[in-house]
Amino acid sequence: MNPVKIIKLIVFALAVLAGMAYPASKIIRFEFPGQPPAVYRFRTGIVDPFDPFRGRYVVLRPLPSEVQIPNKGFDPKYAVLGLDEKGLATVTDLTEAPVKGRDCVRLESAYFQNWNKEKPSYGITLPFDRFYLNEELAPEAEKAFNEAIRKGDDVCVIKVNIYQNGDYAIEDLEIEGMPIHQYLKQSTRKE
């Protein structure tokens, strides 16, 4: 084989490997973490849009979106997670970096709201905003959610694996304590 061909093959192989590198590193981080992830359940709202590359999904509006703590004097980057009395996820503190020994998640955004002097708070956006479903199930999920939400705001939750480095992977979307696929199957049977 001539040298030009060999160089082309090497460059091509490197390009293919580079293309695999990022998704592969993601798989490794999620499937083989140094420490097993902590599982949290967040209250959430959902709507059903579309992504041309990744297909149908439901947009999640995870809660809490507001944390009542005084002004920190810096731009918070991470939310320290805890559990409320119902066992659902809540944010106990906002920090600049992950806190060792505590479960943290990197925030999408955080801003201080000083309009209420008595109850100063931060408006936060948690990063989990998408749950992918196939195109037949996504509209059904939105419909099921709209019916279930009348029973209370804890009925729809997302189950999220939180890793030590602040990474996350959504494991499932649950309505009334049931995984979404199971819930939709059951509601179809009832109809």
């Binding site: 460059v11 091509f12 490197l14 390009a15 695999m20 990022y22 590359f53 196939n134 959504i170």
Partner: protein
């Protein structure tokens, strides 16, 4: 392309006849034969070009289909199985690419390999994100795909990949232009320059000329001083278009000529209209990044460069005065920094008039109705704009328009006949 290809083939069949009749001698025959056979081999035949376009389009459609099929979300399958399925398009693209390189396959295979590998990377990245329900913006996703697949452009010399890459650039939020965007833009430039300067008659050079236009729009969408930039870029593109036109590149293979002309004319017309628009046209240079000033500063040297080149080639500058007049557009943003608003407005009027007259004269000199009409349209557009500025009655306006229109048609007929007569006389 087809005409040129057929002409070369015809000439090759004629060479033995010319030699037999002793019009050319044996060494000349051999030299001509070698020269045109080499050119014929280098230039893909029209059939092959069409085939390449169809195969490229097919590859793009297959890639789109695979992405849609996998984006359906086969959540009934186990996770490991879905990860493996997500990897399949990339493995397919890699196999196709390796086969193409090892067996030195033609352009059709190269196009297929580049597009399928790019789609494979996009698919794998997107589906892993889908499987783990992680977020991420479209900008980050496109950036990653463009970055890791850029070597495919040079390994496979793929025109479809180049087109997709340029399309992808528009997802990098050009309004928020930074050095990263410049770096991505720079990635495709060697490919474009290579094809622009290697053989300007080839189909590849035509493709490169077309591809530069969206790239220039990409640059203009940044915080480049928009209208000043528009003038300078339009002037550059137009100069390129005139040079290619003088080298015999026809209208449809030379998009720079029309695009440069229309954008330059419209930008100048806007700048001649009011002082307010003049202000927005030549707005504060200090707001933009230093890197945007570079082409403007370098552009100021273009008139001098053109003069030097013309002298070196032993040509009189007056042979192509329109090049110098167009290049003078580079000086307008500089002048706007020092001149008063209304003075600048009248200078732009004068400049557009000069440009129109020069083009009309050039059209007559080079016997080109295209240039002649381009110049006449510029003068007529300028006159029309000034006409609406003034307080003439409808009667006067109507008459003037009829006279202008009639003059336009008569001038075309007269010049057209003159060109025909001259051509007949020469024949």
């Amino acid at each position: 392309m087809s005409k040129e290809h057929n002409s070369m083939r015809w000439l090759l069949t004629e060479l033995p006849v010319l030699r037999e009749k002793q019009i050319i001698d044996a060494p000349t025959h051999d030299r001509l034969n070698d020269h045109y056979r080499a050119r014929l081999a280098a230039a893909p035949s029209p059939q092959n070009l069409w085939m390449m376009v169809l195969v490229g389009l097919g590859a793009c459609m297959i890639a789109g289909g695979v992405i849609s099929l996998l984006a359906y979300n086969w959540d009934m399958l186990p996770k490991a199985c879905r990860i493996f399925i997500a990897l399949l398009p990339l493995l397919g693209g890699a196999a196709c690419g390796a086969y193409t390189i090892v067996n030195d396959k033609d352009a059709r295979w190269r196009e297929c390999s580049a597009v399928l590998t790019m789609a494979g990377v996009a698919c794998f990245t997107a589906l892993i994100s889908q499987i783990y329900h992680t977020g991420g913006t479209l900008r980050d996703f496109i950036m990653l795909v463009l970055l890791v697949t850029l070597p495919l452009l040079y390994v496979f010399r793929s025109y479809f990949y180049a087109g997709l890459y340029c399309f992808g650039l528009f997802f990098l939020e050009p309004y928020d232009f930074d050095l990263v965007n410049w770096a991505f833009l720079a990635g495709v430039l060697p490919f474009l320059f290579y094809h622009l300067f290697r053989d300007y008659r080839s189909a590849q050079a035509t493709f490169a000329r077309y591809l530069t236009l969206p790239l220039l729009i990409f640059v203009l969408m940044s915080d480049f001083p928009v209208l000043s930039g528009l003038l300078i870029i339009a002037a550059t593109v137009y100069i390129g278009g005139i040079i290619y036109s003088r080298k015999g590149i026809d209208f449809f293979r030379n998009p720079w000529l029309f695009c440069g002309w229309i954008v330059l004319t419209v930008a100048l017309l806007i700048s001649t209209y009011t002082n307010d628009i003049r202000k927005s046209l030549f707005y504060d240079f200090s707001n933009c990044q230093w890197i945007f000033l570079l082409p403007i500063l370098l552009g100021g040297l273009l008139p001098a460069l053109l003069l030097c080149t013309a002298r070196r080639n032993g040509k009189r500058v007056l042979d192509n005065p329109e090049l110098l007049v167009v290049a003078a557009a580079y000086l307008l943003p500089y002048m706007a920094l020092f001149l008063d608003g209304s003075l600048m407005r009248w200078l732009c009027n004068l400049y557009l008039l000069c440009l129109g007259i020069t083009l009309t004269a050039s059209g007559i000199r080079h016997r080109s109705l295209l240039f002649f009409n381009a110049g006449i349209i510029q003068i007529a557009a300028l006159a029309t704009c000034r006409f609406f500025d003034s307080e003439f009655s409808m009667l006067v306006r109507g008459t003037a328009f009829i006279v202008l229109g009639a003059a336009f048609i008569v001038a075309n007929v007269i010049i057209g006949r003159r060109f025909k007569k001259n051509a007949g006389g020469e024949a």
